[in-house]
């Protein structure tokens, strides 16, 4: 009973927050609503006894990704009014399409196809069951191949991010510490013999 209440609470918050992400006017607020959505989703995962994944979701997405996201949003000067131009003209048509699609998907994917009758609920875990350990075991045995490919994808991301953004400009005034340290006196000081002022 209490589980059902918690589930419906988190689910309602999740849906509300996700809806707010795409409807609020201020992009910073949208990012903050996304944080709320992630929190609610991790709450749902906790209910499913996936503690490790729930914590990772908060740590990685809320802690790292969203903070970065907020920085980017604040740095870019996004003109909301221009982005929203024409939304009212397209809204009826878009809404109609969306409603038709939702109804169609409901017919195909209604709860009787994915309900508890179709799929059996997994059994609960015994006390002392470690989610993290099980995940680690799976990740490094059964799923080691996709895990490695995912790592290579991250490597590609690093390589291409550097290749696309790093510019060696010749006209920048930056310090070259090793060149400074390697400087010798002869290069910097020039002895000039001047005739003395007094005759």
């Amino acid at each position: 009973m209490i589980e059902a209440i918690v589930f419906y609470f988190f689910a309602a918050v999740l849906i509300g927050a996700s809806f707010a992400v795409i409807t609020v006017k201020n992009p910073v607020h949208a990012a903050l609503f996304l944080v709320l959505a992630f929190f609610s989703a991790s709450g749902l995962w906790l209910l499913l006894e996936a503690e490790f994944l729930a914590i990772v979701l908060v740590l990685v997405y809320v802690g790292a990704v969203m903070v970065l996201f907020l920085f980017v949003v604040m740095m870019l000067d996004i003109n909301i009014a221009r982005l929203r131009e024409g939304i009212w003209a397209w809204l009826p048509f878009g809404a109609l399409l969306a409603i038709v699609m939702v109804i169609e998907m409901w017919i195909v994917l209604g709860s009787e196809r994915f309900g508890l009758a179709g799929t059996i609920a997994p059994e609960g875990h015994p006390a002392g069951y470690s989610n993290t350990k099980e995940l680690g075991m799976l990740l490094y045995t059964h799923y080691v191949y996709p895990f490695e490919i995912a790592a290579v994808i991250l490597l590609v991301a690093i390589v291409s991010a550097i290749a696309l953004t790093m510019r060696r400009r010749k006209d920048t005034k930056s310090q070259d510490a090793s060149a400074q340290l390697a400087a010798r006196r002869e290069e910097r000081v020039r002895m000039v013999s001047m005739p003395s002022g007094r005759k």
Binding site: M105, V108, L109, R113, F114, G118, T119, T141, H142, Y143, V144, Y145, P146, I149, A150, V152, I153, L155, V156, A157, V159, S160, A163, L164, R167
Partner: protein, 476 residues
């Protein structure tokens, strides 16, 4: 050790990335040679570890059979050839950086993973590995606004397609309870899976595949990306990834969903018909050769789908033959654009091919062979490719579609032959000597002759395709 080639390539990549940091040569000759050597080693490793029957490893996530060997060999050879073609082109366009080669190899690794995937997870990861490398390669010329726009379009639409594909896969997972392609097949055969959910998933999977192949109505990105990218990258996108995409389509549709052939072949009929129609008719209006070849790609994808939609071993092997031949023709076509280009000048307008016969009869002859082959005129290999696909579709009773295909390829012959007319019967407006390195020129000649030779003797390649498809058909 079935996955030896993948492991070797990853290790070689790590070495090349470090060596490239230490090389100060602006021509990146060392990186280029190391890239070619690693591709050659991969070819040897793939052939040495190949087997006729399917071998699985990594807990059934990786499969190696004859089809994977042939397609991977095709990928290595075409990437190796296109890197040689691109040498002088990238040197004159600030593209000659180590990343061009390392990203190429990353894309090759992604293609290998796709070709050998036996699980939806690895299929998807391989696709992303390949696509991410390609997005970055398109954007590698940072100062070109056209290339940046092309990269953005490619990235956004590619991400959308990946989303559709993933959603479809999640539906298939929901219906069958497994991501393993063989288990998906078993669940469908046993009748436990809900057919409504399966078909719903197939719709999204086919839409995602259509995006990746560039079939109409999911083709909008192809002309802009082909036109906007530097020609070396266009050549890359147009050739080897199609081989991987073919394996991808075959693994999902025939490997996992063969019992539902009636559902997905209807969708492919529409995609195939529209691709042939839009591709061939729109190409007539193009004045830019890269754009024209982009529309020609769309129509070729229509023909490829024609082979796949027949859902038989004959159809699949005809499609495999088609995709190998297509890669060969594309290499030649874009290779010729790069050969005729020089610093600050891009030979990608139809005008630039005027009077090529007077400037260089040999290159004009090679281009003539390539254009004949793309149009499907005997005795070039393009004829047999089209012929075998049409034959397979006819056998399964798609008579109307076959008639339409013949009519559209007749329309298509117009714009291929227009280039031949420009080369032989118009006078040149540009008399600059033809640049390009000697090895690229010789290789391009071989490429053109291969199109002719395979057209005269297509049996061995056809037999190879038929045998590899037969050996890897788990769907039957």
């Amino acid at each position: 050790m079935p996955a030896a080639a993948e492991i070797i390539l990853l290790c070689a990549l790590a070495v090349i990335m470090i060596v490239d940091l230490l090389v100060d040569d602006p021509k990146r000759f060392v990186t280029f040679m190391l890239t070619q050597i690693s591709l050659a080693i991969c070819l040897v490793a793939t052939i040495a570890t190949s087997s006729v029957a399917a071998v699985h490893t990594f807990d059934g996530m990786f499969v190696s059979d004859m089809m994977t060997t042939v397609l991977k060999a095709g990928v290595y050879v075409s990437v190796s050839i296109l890197l040689i073609y691109s040498r002088s082109y990238i040197e004159s366009r600030s593209l000659c950086r180590g990343e061009f080669y390392t990203l190429s190899l990353f894309a090759v690794l992604g293609m290998m993973v796709m070709i050998s995937a036996a699980n939806f997870l690895t299929l998807y990861l391989g696709l992303e590995l390949m696509s991410l490398s390609l997005y970055a390669m398109v954007a590698l010329t940072r100062d070109s606004a056209v290339a940046t726009e092309a990269a953005m379009k490619y990235f956004v639409l590619g991400a959308l397609a990946s989303g559709l594909l993933l959603y479809g896969m999640s539906m298939l997972y929901g219906a069958t309870g497994s991501l393993d392609i063989e288990k998906v097949l078993a669940a469908i055969k046993s009748g436990q899976a809900n057919p409504n959910v399966l078909v719903f998933g197939i719709v999204f999977v086919v839409a995602g595949l259509g995006f990746k192949l560039g079939a109409v109505p999911f083709h909008m990105w192809i002309p802009d990306v082909y036109h906007g990218s530097p020609t070396a990258v266009t050549l890359f996108i147009g050739s080897a990834p199609k081989l991987a995409a073919f394996a991808f389509v075959l693994r999902i549709l025939s490997g996992g969903l063969q019992p539902l052939v009636h559902d997905w072949s209807q969708m492919l009929v529409i995609l195939s018909f529209l691709s042939m129609a839009v591709g061939n008719i729109t190409a007539i209006a193009q004045t830019n050769l890269k754009r024209m070849l982009a529309y020609s790609t769309i129509s070729h994808m229509g023909f490829l789908l024609l082979g796949i939609l027949s859902g038989t071993v004959d159809g699949y092997s005809a499609a495999m033959f088609y995709v190998l031949v297509y890669a060969l023709m594309t290499l030649g076509g874009f290779g010729m654009i790069m050969l005729l280009s020089r610093e600050g000048f891009e030979a990608d307008n139809l005008e630039d091919f005027k009077g090529l016969n007077a400037r260089s009869p040999w290159n004009a002859f090679v281009m003539l062979l390539l254009m004949f082959s793309m149009a499907g005129i005997p005795p070039t290999v393009g004829f047999y490719a089209k012929f075998s696909v049409l034959q397979a579709a006819l056998k399964t009773g798609h008579l109307g579609l076959v008639i339409a295909a013949v009519i559209f390829s007749l329309i298509g012959a117009f714009y291929y032959l227009r280039i031949v007319k420009l080369m032989y019967f118009d006078s040149a407006s540009d008399n600059a000597p033809i640049a390009g390195t000697q090895d690229a020129r010789i290789l391009l000649g071989i490429n053109g002759l291969a199109v002719l030779l395979l057209g005269i003797l297509p049996q061995s390649l056809m037999a190879l395709c038929a045998r590899s498809i037969q050996s890897s058909m788990i769907g039957f």
